[in-house]
């Protein structure tokens, strides 16, 4: 997810502005389908199941947007993209939005001319070690051999971390996550480092997951979020506020279980505005009044989506951590619906 974006940068430069003719919202409505870019497969975030249905944490964002705009969470055409094709697919108009665990960085936002519409997962680079190594902190890893994916920002983060802590390491360069799993299990390296969510998913596939621990240090910021083309603010607002609706719904206690009850009207004016029984928020976005209700009906609020796809009850077993509501000590903080 952090591969170099040179290819994208070269092809996009200068062309993005032309391709980003306004009116994506109208295009989507006219087409009756949302073209949503996802990854070709990442455990928990997006993958088709045995029946060919896309499932996952990023997929849920696509479905919520489709439900908000078109009232139908199945009206999505999922366009699988690789790390190399994702930005051109978005810039060329092949997809309307990209929800592909993409890190929000300055250059992608400014130079590649995209608009990140929020953060749906706060990730960061972590370390995994076998339990028998007896290490409890990354600062004790002096002289360790580290499996690291080449050509990613994780490589640079790692070098920075070890240098600033004045300890040494031996890198074992590898190409893919699959290769890393094999190398790490075969003992070719003491430590495997990549995004914490990826480490958790990798550990879940091991024969004996309990024999490996994730160290507490997170050494980089990887805010992952959906993005749209620069310059189409109406469409950007739709995606941004759909994501915010999922977050706000969790904060306000609106779940898929009590949604229909709440949609009948409550004493809390913000819930009423969110679900469209009060105010004209939907109209301002160019959507129907019950857009928020539709978005929540697609897969529930943020917490439900998280629990169903990557939460602690799934094999991936990610804790909420940074992705808890601000009231719970996390970073999720949606602006008010007013």
């Amino acid at each position: 997810m952090k591969n170099t974006v040179i290819l994208g940068a070269m092809t996009i430069a200068g062309l993005a502005a032309g391709a980003a003719a306004a009116g994506t919202l109208d295009d989507v409505k006219a087409r009756g389908k949302l073209n949503c870019g996802v990854t070709t497969g990442l455990v928990g975030f997006a993958a088709p199941d045995a029946n060919g249905e896309w499932k996952g944490f990023d997929v849920a964002v696509c479905r919520a947007v489709a439900a908000a705009v078109l009232g139908d969470s199945t009206a999505v055409e999922f366009v699988p993209t690789t790390g190399k094709t994702r930005f051109t697919a978005l810039a060329s108009g092949e997809i309307d939005m990209l929800a592909r665990n993409t890190t929000w960085t300055f250059s992608r936002d400014v130079d590649l001319k995209f608009e990140f519409t929020g953060v749906n997962y706060y990730d960061g680079q972590g370390f995994m070690v076998p339990k028998e190594l007896g290490v409890s902190s990354a600062k004790e890893l002096d002289g360790a051999t580290v499996c690291i994916q080449t050509g990613t920002t994780t490589e640079l983060n790692l070098a920075d971390f070890f240098r600033s802590n004045n300890i040494s390491y031996e890198p074992v360069p590898i190409e893919t996550n699959a290769e890393a799993q094999q190398q790490y299990l075969a003992g070719a390296c003491d430590v495997y480092t990549t995004d914490a969510s990826g480490l958790a998913a990798t550990r879940a596939t091991f024969d004996a997951p309990d024999a490996h621990v994730l160290l507490p240090e997170i050494i980089s910021k990887e805010p992952l979020g959906p993005l749209v083309r620069h310059g189409d603010h109406e469409w950007g607002d739709v995606v941004r506020w759909t994501l915010n609706a999922l977050v706000t719904a969790e904060e306000l206690g609106v779940t898929s279980a009590n949604l229909s009850e709440m949609a009948a009207g409550t004493n809390n004016p913000e819930i009423n505005r969110l679900l469209g029984t009060e105010g004209t928020l939907g109209e301002m976005l160019g959507l129907s009044a019950d857009w928020g209700k539709n978005a929540l009906a697609a897969g529930g609020n943020y917490g439900e989506v998280f629990a169903k796809n990557i939460g602690e009850d799934t094999p991936i077993g990610l804790a909420r951590g940074l992705n808890a509501q601000w009231t719970q000590g996390g970073l999720l903080y949606s602006p008010p619906f007013r």
């Binding site: 092809t11 455990v43 088709p48 045995a50 060919g52 993209t81």
Partner: protein, 432 residues
């Protein structure tokens, strides 16, 4: 002298000694083993080492294969069933085989369509591959591409019919005018085909695909081994004629044609296939308006075809260069014009020489079709690397999936190789 000799001989054999069996160490399995496996000390050491290697391989692989679990629904369950013993988790194949073969979006109740297309492919290929069969079967081969298109993509049957009619019209025009002037026939044929296609396109109603006999399947929904087969068969069959044309063009005495062919071949050979695929998937979408793009499958077919045509052209050029100049001069002296000389004298010999090389390119091309997984097409390898390994149930199953893919590719590639060896034997005319 002779008398003396006869008197000295005490015994004269009066009949043949009955044949006795050879000594035990010079016969049967014993002899074979001794001569082939233990003929010398280094040879014996190598034999023992090889036996030890085979034993260690089998003792690891066989329990893994035989202990295989076929019925669970996730890798975790596999591990529960195995309880720590070595064993493969083949359940991933039983649960996901249809995704591996057809991709994850091809409608499940329509699998008979690609199956039928594959069966008909064998029938259509038979007269091309085995030229002892009656030539009339070639008529089916000519119709097959349009039939297969209709079977796999579905939609209105009018589309392939109009396409076929366009080619028929082109053929008729070429027959009529091509005799007198090649250029008139060639360009007349192109114009005729374009006119038919344009008129046909106007005649086909927009909604024809909605209630067609076979439901329409977009290219994006194709995948799995089916996609590899389709790309492989289409690209090989298109690139051989194109390669022949390029090879002849490169040898041409007309400088313009010659330089076009040289530049094309050298350019395509100098660029990696993966670059061409990226151009097909990424760059071309900038050149078309967003709603009117050329189908991705078609773009990829064009790129792979151009790529392999350049290689095949060079292989055939090697065949042409191997022919003695006398063959060309003989053709000229018989008064044959260029097409006749090529068709009757030069190409039959040059192509025969080129067979191993062409098959080499074809096998390589077939395996290269897995590269489309990097431009997010879900061919067999794309299915494995993407959706299947990214599912929570099967993340971590590598050997079983990739072994299955390897087995399928091996079967096809070995088949192609065996055919080419048969072809070489069949065409051998004893020059060696």
């Amino acid at each position: 002298m002779s008398d003396k000799t006869t008197q000295q001989i005490a015994f004269v054999a009066e009949g043949m000694i009955p044949e006795s069996p050879p000594p035990a160490r010079e016969a049967g399995a014993y002899k074979w083993v001794r001569e082939n496996l233990f003929s010398s000390i280094p040879n014996s050491i190598l034999t023992l080492a090889a036996l030890a290697l085979i034993y260690s391989l089998l003792s690891n692989v066989l329990p893994w294969l035989l202990n295989g679990v076929w019925t669970t629904s996730s890798l975790a369950e596999c591990r529960e069933v195995l309880e720590g013993k070595a064993g493969a988790c083949f359940s991933v194949l039983t649960e996901r085989w249809h995704q591996l073969l057809y991709g994850f979006k091809y409608p499940t109740d329509q699998y008979w369509r690609p199956n039928l297309a594959l069966l008909l492919l064998l029938i259509a290929l038979a007269p091309v591959l085995f030229f002892d069969l009656p030539r009339r079967l070639l008529a089916f081969t000519a119709v097959y591409p349009f039939l297969a298109f209709w079977l796999i993509w579905g939609g209105s049957i009018l589309v392939p019919i109009v396409a076929l009619l366009g080619f028929v019209a082109a053929g008729v025009v070429f027959q009529k005018y091509g005799k007198s002037s090649f250029a008139a026939g060639f360009f007349g044929a192109i114009v005729a085909a374009l006119v038919i296609w344009k008129l046909g396109g106007l005649l086909i109603p927009d909604a024809a695909s909605d209630n067609a006999m076979l439901s329409s399947v977009p290219s994006r929904d194709l995948g799995g081994f089916m996609l590899n087969m389709m790309l492989g068969v289409t690209c090989v069959s298109l690139s051989v004629p194109l390669g022949i044309a390029l090879a002849l063009g490169r040898q041409s005495s007309m400088p313009f044609i010659k330089w076009i062919c040289v530049v094309f071949i050298e350019f395509v050979r100098g660029v990696p296939l993966i670059t061409l695929l990226f151009v097909a998937s990424v760059m071309l979408s900038y050149f078309f308006p967003p709603d009117a793009t050329v189908d991705l499958f078609l773009r990829v077919v064009i790129m792979i075809t151009l790529f392999s045509a350049a290689y095949i052209a060079e292989v055939i050029r090697g065949g042409l260069a191997a022919l003695p100049t006398g063959q060309y001069e003989a053709a000229d002296s018989l008064g044959l014009d260029y097409p006749q000389a090529m068709r009757l004298i030069i190409l039959p010999q040059a192509l025969k020489i080129s067979i191993p090389g062409i098959v080499n390119v074809a096998v390589g091309l077939f395996k290269d079709t897995t590269l489309v997984s990097v431009i997010s097409m879900f061919d067999m390898v794309g299915m494995i690397r993407g959706p299947i390994l990214a599912s929570t149930e099967w993340n971590g199953v590598y050997w079983e999936l990739l072994g299955f893919a390897a087995a399928l590719f091996f079967v096809v590639c070995y088949g192609i190789s065996q055919y080419s060896q048969w072809l070489e034997r069949r065409l051998a005319t004893g020059h060696r």
